[in-house]
């Protein structure tokens, strides 16, 4: 039954073992020069490979025509192999002769996420030193910042940046407390990812940059596509995995490394003798059964090993998606991830079915009149009410007026971020910017309700 409608298109054809005719470079056809084998079958000589690797980067940026002459661009740097390659590519581009010279102004920013991963101050300090070392040969200004500043009261819960040469690790305990609330790593990782982006955006604002470059590779992109779908983030997929993330006006996040396979990055760094460090995600939680993101990454890495073309297919599929025409006329954004809200309850939708399920499981046959056709509207309210522990009513005043309850908060979050909120005990621990955005979105909604009768 389950395979009705599946006409079993041929997929994942196992790659045949490379047919090697000596070791001739596929590009320049010179014999006995090939040193590089990509996708397990294509052979190139070192020179052709490097020319192509450089071209790919410039083409990705050039094709989009998003970066203009003199733009200030933040370059996110984590020290992992792909970010190391990206910074090297940019540096090469800056020192090219005039007509090929990259024409933007780069600023490197390293986001210290040590606190998010429970690293000691010493370890974080030593990572900072490593980062500084990786960058010291480049003539590009470099800064560091850290995610925990978003939670630091002393810092007004804002990001500040320091030149990488004299950055110091500051410890603030708040983030650890919040992270302790997460029951499972899936939601925690998703949350931290959003925080990292927030930190980058704030750093970009401080530096006057309107563009941000990040270094997700092909495998990163393919696993992000699959894991974001699994996290209920289908509606925002183009922002989260596309080449250009334009969810916020005035900022664009660009991902110029998306077409690079891990093998390409490896060869590139090897040929130029570039060192890299392990980033946070590779250090912790190596058990794939722990989180959706890690399981997916493992799944995609296995694919890359056995069915390399499937990884590219996943990436191409992602590139064909777009942000839906706003399904609400207010053009509302999620207070946490700032993606479009995808939570209007439509009849006969997954969201409505989930809400209805938890409603019927808690009310029982006697609880509702089973002859009443369940409607989307009533379900939402009942369901949200039953989820809240102490103060279910919207008008509940058991907290001070400024703080939103979890229920009030939920309205201003997208589907994916609601799953994050579900994990944590109360909304109090969320960073200030989330609460502020949720607060103002709630106010707007109230205002709208007041004048609703007069709107045409």
């Amino acid at each position: 039954m389950c395979s009705v409608g599946d006409d079993g298109l041929t997929l994942m054809e196992c790659e045949e073992s490379p047919v090697l005719s000596g070791n001739t470079c596929k590009k320049c056809q010179q014999e006995n020069t090939a040193e590089v084998v990509l996708r397990k079958k294509d052979m190139y000589c070192k020179n052709c490979f490097l020319v192509n690797a450089t071209h790919k980067f410039r083409a990705a940026l050039g094709k989009s025509k998003i970066i203009r002459q003199g733009d200030k661009v933040l370059v996110a740097f984590s020290g992992n192999p792909s970010s190391v390659a990206m910074v090297h590519l940019i540096n090469c581009g800056l020192s090219m002769d005039t007509h090929k010279k990259l024409i933007f102004d780069p600023f490197i920013v390293y986001v210290d996420e040590g606190a998010s991963h429970g690293l000691s101050s010493e370890k974080r300090q030593s990572m900072l030193r490593d980062i500084h070392n990786l960058l010291k040969d480049y003539n590009i200004p470099a800064y560091s910042t850290s995610v925990d500043m978003l939670f630091n009261n002393a810092n007004n819960e804002r990001i500040s940046i320091f030149p990488i040469s004299n950055s110091m690790v500051e410890k603030c305990g708040v983030l650890e407390k919040i992270l302790a609330e997460f029951k499972c790593p899936t939601a925690r990782q998703d949350f931290l990812k959003r925080m990292r982006y927030k930190a980058l955006r704030e750093a970009a604002a401080l530096l006057g940059c309107s563009k941000i470059l990040t270094s997700e590779t092909l495998v990163d992109t393919a696993s992000n596509i699959l894991s974001n779908i699994s996290l209920g983030r289908g509606a925002q997929l183009p922002y989260d995995i596309g080449f250009c993330d334009s969810r916020l006006e005035g900022f664009k996040v660009l991902r110029p490394m998306q077409e690079y396979g891990s093998d390409e990055i490896e060869y590139y760094n090897q040929f130029y003798g570039l060192n890299s460090i392990k980033d946070y995600n590779s250090e912790i939680n190596t058990k794939p059964t722990n989180s959706i993101q890690i399981l997916t990454k493992k799944f995609v890495t296995d694919l890359q090993e056995n069915f390399p073309s499937t990884v590219f297919t996943v990436y191409r599929t992602g590139a064909k998606l777009s942000i839906a025409n706003e399904d609400n006329d207010l053009n509302e954004k999620c207070s946490l991830c700032q993606g479009p809200l995808d939570t209007s309850v439509i009849e006969s939708s997954s969201l409505q079915a989930t809400q209805f399920s938890s409603y019927v499981s808690t009310s029982g046959p006697s609880g509702i009149n089973s002859n009443v056709t369940p409607s989307a509207d009533t379900d939402t309210k009942i369901n949200l009410g039953s989820n809240e522990e102490s103060c279910g009513k919207k008008k509940c005043k058991c907290k001070s007026d400024n703080t939103l309850t979890k229920v009030e908060m939920i309205d201003s979050l997208c589907y994916g971020c609601r799953l994050i909120l579900k994990e944590i005990g109360s909304a109090d621990h969320l960073p200030r910017f989330v609460k502020e955005l949720a607060g103002s979105s709630n106010k707007l909604k109230q205002m709208r309700a007041e004048i609703e009768d007069f709107l045409l």
Binding site: S3, L9, L226, T317, K320
Partner: protein, 343 residues
Amino acid sequence: MPVSCSAKCGNNAVLKRPKTGDALCKECFFWAFETEVHSTIQGGQLFKQGDVVAVAASGGKDSTVLAYVLKLLDERYNYGLKLVLLSIDEGITGYRDDSLETVKQNRDDYEMPLTILSYKELYGWTMDEIVEQIGRKNNCTFCGVFRRQALDRGAALLSVDKVATGHNADDIAETVLMNVLRGDIARLRRCTAIATESEGSIPRVKPLKYTYEKEIVMYAYFKKLVYFSTECVFAPNAYRGYARTFLKDLEKIRPSVIMDIIHSGERLSVRDNVRMPTRITCTRCGLVASQAICKACTLLEGLNRGLPRLGIGKESKTNRMRAQLQSAEAASDSAKRSAGDEF
């Protein structure tokens, strides 16, 4: 220590719902299960009063529970449906012949008329014979394509208004992942639709779209419904198996992942400039197709010409093979003609 039912009915719970994590007693679970399917049917406006509905019955758990629940809901809520069973006999010895016995049991138990259509009578080939030709590698392609069309033909034959299939939430989520993995953007867009409707074909509906597979098993188990559960004797579809294992692993980490994936699928949108296959009708059989000659006709042509691989793989490959065949035929025709001229 016994857990009491989340629905506050006072009874002790006997199960934990995989979908919501709530502990329920048997009666409250039955009620919740049925009410949810009812809600899906009402919300999606799947049926109209007086509809004749064919339940696509394989004898497996999904279609057995679907037939049972549709009959029950039809009586409880007066949908006013006429329910019939429609089975496809692929001709797989040791698998379908056994499962059809279960369907016949359903026919007697639920008092629904049953029609069985076989690949043999529709296409002239049984799956056993097809596997003899193609081998075990691509046989699922034949089976899937033929079954899809066979259901359409059967529905037309019985002149029903709707076909109800037993696709459950796990199937839908799996299909979303599958379509991403094979880059099938057109199917990715339509695979989460609860009803498929297009010119000239009978709509198919999926009343169990939001029902977890595990809960279907639970429902059948507690209701003591007989169903047939054996893997197909031919190699299970390896590609789908890949996605299935992945989904099962995801579900272990976060049970809501199935609904989350469906949500993602429902809210995806495709860029305007992406070329989509248009729905046309097959020039040979007249049924819905996305190419001039539909997949089923191509596969059948391959079988009948002794070239079973004709329809396997990309459309361009098929077209190339077909062009070669035609030019070869033309050549032999003209050879014959010129040979005839000499006399």
